[in-house]
Symmetry: C2
Amino acid sequence: MLHVHDLRQEPIQVPTRPRAFEPAARADQTIRLKQDQTIYSEGQKVLAFYQVEAGAIRIYRLMPDGHRHILSFCVKGDWFGLEQGDRRADFAEAVCEARIRPFATTGSSTFTNNLLNIALANLAKAQSRQMAMIEQSALKRVAVFIQEMAERHPGESEFDLMMCRSDVADYLGLTIETVARSFTKLRERRIIRLKGKLQRCVQLLDRDALAALAL
Amino acid sequence: MLHVHDLRQEPIQVPTRPRAFEPAARADQTIRLKQDQTIYSEGQKVLAFYQVEAGAIRIYRLMPDGHRHILSFCVKGDWFGLEQGDRRADFAEAVCEARIRPFATTGSSTFTNNLLNIALANLAKAQSRQMAMIEQSALKRVAVFIQEMAERHPGESEFDLMMCRSDVADYLGLTIETVARSFTKLRERRIIRLKGKLQRCVQLLDRDALAALAL
DNA sequence: CGTCAAATTGATAAGACTCAATGGCAGTGG
DNA sequence: CCACTGCCATTGAGTCTTATCAATTTGACG
């Protein structure tokens, strides 16, 4: 089965004329971010959209009751900040130290065409996540999540999640405890191994078993 | 623990793969659809995208285990069928008798800007749904769903859902039984009243209480 | 050593799923 | 006209998963 997630790992293809970004993409315009630094907040005016160069970004919303829900994690190559309307509907923060490159929202029509592709890619991603969220099983959600993250490190059997359990929980719609328990189950089944003082480094031991869990 | 995610009494219209017509060159001409008629299927080439003129359309995907998940319901004024790539990633079917208008995807560049807006609108909708799906409570999901449907009939306190419980269940990631129980709770609390032989007509009795449930 | 933060583990209860049965309505055929 | 059947929605009983509340572990740092 083809996974729509596939389009996330590669820098989202902007098939026609990548040069169109040239005007906004001057060298040295890269922005460096510290951990938890805010890029924009809900309600702010939309000034630009961004591509991640390094690190990870979390896009989230706050619900009326104060609950935080993370809509997506963006890593190297991912685009974010392209919104409908001229006001931010969500927050963007650095998960860890990160670098991003801003692009102006105004542009030529060929530019608009590229924006369309980015928007469609984001839409596809959102729909895929919708599918994953529907899955009731916590273990399955976590399995899907790990796969999703693993796809961003092709060829490597070991990678750093970068985000804390709380981030994962808010992303998957679970509690911290349930996330931890799911990780433990995967470890007990020898599907993954966790490393590092905060257990955020994942080593894949049995990709097939993981894929089977994720369905 | 074996999670053989059951093929939930796979609803009705499975084996039916009615002829998908080729909208082809004859764009901008209204198409009339019968109930459950297929507009396009997964894997087909993208020939057009559509705007709903009347009735309702369900957009869904089939998971490897045969489980159906409905990504969205589209009613009058909604756009659908705008995808990334040139192949369909999902299915589109008429929920009931419906009318849609096709548009060629090879539009001029003046069109592109509008396409972007449509894509962004769909993206925003998908993200909103992601938020709603995270909500654990079945009652809350159903409340959000009814609100969502009510918003499409502004000024009216009564409207027809058009889709069956099975559709609602696949949309909300619940079982038919849980959907029915939630409807019953809303009825018992005098928040809605259900009408019609199939109880698919909703009358809003207490909008505030509904909004409170939906958070 | 004490403190802190993050993650893990444990016990309990609430909520949703599963299986099973019921009721209402429409169409069909004797 | 009435029994029969199928479809859809609803309800009931039992089981299982996860949220909740609480306690414990681990490593880092002063």
